[in-house]
C-alpha cells in the first residue's frame, strides 16, 4: 500500500437555513452526509455526480474552505478537521484548488505575474529573485510560453485554455501535495479539454501530486483517474477502481449513469435509453432509507425505503451502498 495522503472519515457538512416567521424554524441542507474516502500520494481520484449532489461542497470541505459539521479529515498524518484559521496556513500551502470557471477565478485587474506572485508573498517568500524564479518555472511547467509574451498580460487577454493553465499554475506554485480540481474543463471547448487534462496528469506524475477531480462527466474520468467515487444526494453510493467500476457497476444509479452516456456512434439515434424516472431529492428533507429508492428499478419494498443501506465491500476495494448486496 502506498503512502496515504488524505483520509476522510464520515465527513458531514450541513448548511443551516432559516424558514418561517422571523426565521424561527431551523432547517439544514445536508450537502455532504457521511463520506469516506482515501487518497494516496500521487494518486488521482474522481468524484462523479450530478449538480446539487454535494460534490463541490465535499471538495471545499476537504480543503477546509468550509468547516466540517462532523467527521474527520486526516492529511499527511495530521488531523485538520478542527484547525483554526491561523493554524490552517500550512494546510493552504499543501493544497490547491482549480475552479470551474477560470475567468471568474482570476482577478481581472492583475497581470499574470502579479497573480502568481500573490501566494508567494502571502507565504513569506521574501526574496524577489526567488519569487521570479518560481514564477518562470511554473509558467514553463504549464507551457504558457514564450513566458515574456504572457507574463505582463491580463486574464482577459488569454484564451479559455490559457486562463485555465494560469489557474493551474497558481494552484501548484507553492508545490502542494493535493489539488482539488472542480470541473476543471467543463467550461472549455472540446478540442482543448484533453490538453488541460493531460497537463494535470503530467503534473501528477512529475510532482507525485494527488488530484481529486470533481466532475459530472464519467467518460473523462476513465482516462485521468485511478479510482472513481459516485455521489448521489450527499452520499457516496459506490466507489472502486476505475476499470472495475466501468466494467462491473453494482449500484443501480451507477448503472443508470453508465447506460445513458453516449459514445459517438451512428446507431445511437435508433436507441431509446433506459432512464430512471424522477429527479434527485432535495437535501433538506432527503427520503428515508436509500436516497435513490424513489427512482430505483430494483427497489426492495419495506427495506430500501425504510433503512439506510450500509457501505458494503462487495469485492476487494469495491464498495457499494445498496441493499441488493446486503
Amino acid at each position: 500500500m502506498s503512502h496515504i495522503l488524505l483520509y476522510v472519515e464520515n465527513l458531514k457538512k450541513y448548511f443551516e437555513i432559516r424558514r418561517g416567521l422571523f426565521g424561527r424554524r431551523r432547517l439544514y441542507v445536508r450537502a455532504v452526509d457521511g463520506v469516506h474516502l482515501t487518497l494516496a500520494r500521487g494518486e488521482a481520484i474522481s468524484i462523479v455526480g450530478e449538480s446539487g449532489c454535494g460534490k463541490t461542497t465535499l471538495g471545499k470541505t476537504i480543503l477546509r474552505l468550509y468547516e466540517p459539521t462532523d467527521g474527520r479529515i486526516i492529511f499527511d498524518g495530521n488531523d485538520i478537521t478542527n484547525l483554526e484559521w491561523k493554524e490552517l496556513k500550512w494546510y493552504r500551502r499543501e493544497t490547491g484548488l482549480v475552479q470551474q470557471d477560470p475567468f471568474g477565478a482570476l482577478p481581472p485587474f492583475m497581470t499574470v505575474k502579479r497573480i502568481l506572485e500573490e501566494p508567494l508573498i502571502i507565504h513569506g517568500f521574501k526574496s524577489k529573485r526567488e519569487r521570479e524564479e518560481r514564477i518562470y518555472k511554473v509558467l514553463e511547467r504549464v507551457r504558457l510560453t514564450p513566458i515574456e509574451d504572457f507574463i505582463n498580460k491580463y486574464p482577459h487577454m488569454l484564451s479559455g485554455g490559457q486562463q485555465q493553465r494560469l489557474v493551474i499554475a497558481r494552484s501548484i506554485i507553492l508545490e502542494p501535495k493535493l489539488i482539488v480540481a472542480d470541473e476543471p474543463v467543463s467550461m472549455l471547448d472540446a478540442s482543448v479539454r484533453i490538453e488541460i487534462l493531460k497537463l494535470l496528469q503530467e503534473l501528477q506524475k512529475t510532482y507525485n501530486l494527488s488530484i481529486m477531480y470533481i466532475t459530472h462527466d464519467l467518460s473523462t474520468t476513465r482516462y485521468f483517474s485511478e479510482r472513481i467515487y459516485i455521489m448521489y444526494a450527499a452520499h457516496i453510493v459506490e466507489d472502486a477502481d476505475t476499470r472495475e467500476i466501468l466494467h462491473n457497476p453494482m449500484h443501480p444509479y451507477t448503472r443508470a449513469l453508465l447506460n445513458v452516456i453516449p459514445d459517438p456512434d451512428p446507431s445511437n439515434r435508433f436507441i431509446i435509453r433506459d432512464v430512471p424516472a424522477g429527479e434527485p431529492p432535495n437535501l433538506i428533507n432527503p427520503p428515508l432509507g436509500c436516497r435513490f429508492h424513489p427512482r430505483c428499478p430494483n427497489i426492495k419494498k419495506g427495506l430500501c425505503d425504510v433503512k439506510e443501506p450500509p457501505r458494503i465491500e462487495v469485492s476487494k476495494d469495491h464498495y457499494v451502498r445498496c441493499w441488493l448486496y446486503g
Binding site: A190, P266, R273
Partner: protein, 322 residues
C-alpha cells in the same frame, strides 16, 4: 422522407462591432430532406448559433451583410417580407428552442398562457382551443397538463425544457431548430430529453437542426452532420460515414479529443485556438492548427463532393492530390 425541405445556399451574415466586422456565417451551404435531422457541430464562437438564427431571420441589430438563399419548401425565405415571414414561417413552420431554454420562460406568467402565445399571435386561434392544444402538447412531452396553470419556478429544469419543446410543437412545425437544448441539464435529465426528441422525431416525423458542441451527444439524433469551423461548414456528411471515418482534418482531430467510455482509445487534442472571426486568415481557416498543412492551404479550399450531397472543404481531397 420525401424530397427536400430546406436548402441553404451560400448564406452570409456579418455584423459590425466597434472592433470591426464579425464574419459569423461566411458562405454556408447545406440541404436537408423532410424528416431528417442535421446536427451542426462546432466549438464556441464558430458561428453555429448565428447560423441557426440567420435561418430564422433573428438578426443582431448591428447586422451589416445578410445574403444568400434559404429555400424552404422551394420558397426563398430571403424574399419574403417581414409580415409574411412572421405569419407563415417564424415560430409557425420553423420553431426554435433557444440555448438558455431554462431562462426563456417568463417567471410571472403561467405556463399555459405563455405556451399559447404563438397560437394567439401567429395563428389567431381562440384561447380555449389554444389551451386544449397546449394540454395535448404537454402530455405528449410527458408533463401533466395540470402544469398549464402553474408558474415556471414550480418546475424542475428538465420539465421546463420539456415545456419549451412542447411549445415549439404547438404550431405543427415542419422544422425545429434546437440550439444546445441540454447544455445546462444533468446527465440523466439530458438522456430523458434525448429520448423525448427521438420519440418526436419518429412519431411526428419532424425535421430538426440540432446545434451542439458535444460530438458524442450529437450522435443521439443526427442523420447527417455538419462540422462548422470559423464561420464555415468544413464537412457535411451522413451520420454513418461521419462517426466511423470523418474526412476533414478538423473533424478527425475533434473526434480524437472525445473520450469514450466503452472502448480504449488514444486521446488527442488540437493545439492553439480558432482564428478570430474579425479577421479570419486567407485560405483554409484551419490551416494554422492542421497537421497536414501544405502550400495549397493558403488558398481557399475547394468544395469536394463525396457522395450524394456530402462534401468536405479541404485541399487534401483536391484534384489529383489524394
Amino acid at each position: 422522407m420525401d424530397g427536400e425541405l430546406l436548402n441553404v445556399l451560400d448564406l452570409i451574415m456579418y455584423y459590425r462591432t466597434l472592433r470591426g466586422e464579425v464574419k459569423a456565417v461566411d458562405g454556408v451551404s447545406f440541404s436537408m430532406r423532410r424528416g431528417e435531422t442535421l446536427a451542426i457541430i462546432g466549438e464556441s464562437g464558430c458561428g453555429k448559433s448565428s447560423l441557426a438564427k440567420s435561418i430564422l431571420r433573428l438578426l443582431p441589430r448591428n447586422v451589416s451583410v445578410y445574403r444568400g438563399k434559404i429555400l424552404f419548401n422551394a420558397v426563398n425565405l430571403m424574399e419574403l417580407d417581414e409580415d409574411t415571414f412572421n405569419r407563415d414561417i417564424r415560430w409557425t413552420k420553423i420553431t426554435y428552442v433557444p440555448q438558455a431554454a431554462l431562462n426563456s420562460l417568463n417567471p410571472v406568467i403561467k405556463i399555459g398562457d405563455q405556451m399559447i402565445e404563438p397560437l394567439l399571435l401567429h395563428q389567431k386561434i381562440d384561447k380555449s382551443e389554444a389551451l386544449e392544444r397546449a394540454a395535448k402538447a404537454l402530455r405528449m412531452v410527458g408533463v401533466s397538463d395540470a402544469f398549464l396553470y402553474h408558474y415556471p419556478f414550480e418546475l424542475s429544469g428538465g420539465m421546463r425544457q420539456r415545456v419549451i419543446i412542447a411549445t415549439s410543437l404547438l404550431t405543427n412545425p415542419e422544422l425545429m431548430i434546437l440550439d444546445e437544448p441540454t447544455s445546462s441539464l444533468d446527465v440523466l435529465t439530458q438522456a430523458n430529453i434525448m429520448n423525448l426528441l427521438k420519440k418526436i422525431k419518429s412519431e411526428v416525423g419532424l425535421s430538426m437542426i440540432f446545434i451542439t458542441h458535444d460530438l458524442a451527444l450529437s450522435s443521439e439524433l443526427a442523420d447527417k452532420v455538419a462540422v462548422m469551423y470559423a464561420g464555415k461548414i468544413v464537412e457535411l456528411n451522413s451520420a454513418e460515414n461521419f462517426y466511423e471515418s470523418p474526412k476533414h482534418p478538423y473533424s478527425q482531430k475533434l473526434m480524437e479529443s472525445v473520450p469514450t467510455l466503452r472502448r480504449d482509445k488514444k486521446l488527442g487534442f488540437i493545439p492553439g485556438s480558432p482564428p478570430s472571426l474579425l479577421n479570419p486568415p486567407r485560405g483554409c481557416r484551419f490551416a494554422e492548427r492542421c497537421p497536414f498543412k501544405f502550400e495549397k492551404c493558403s488558398e481557399d479550399p475547394p468544395t469536394i463532393f463525396l457522395n450524394g450531397d456530402s462534401y468536405v472543404k479541404c485541399w487534401i481531397y483536391g484534384k489529383g492530390l489524394s
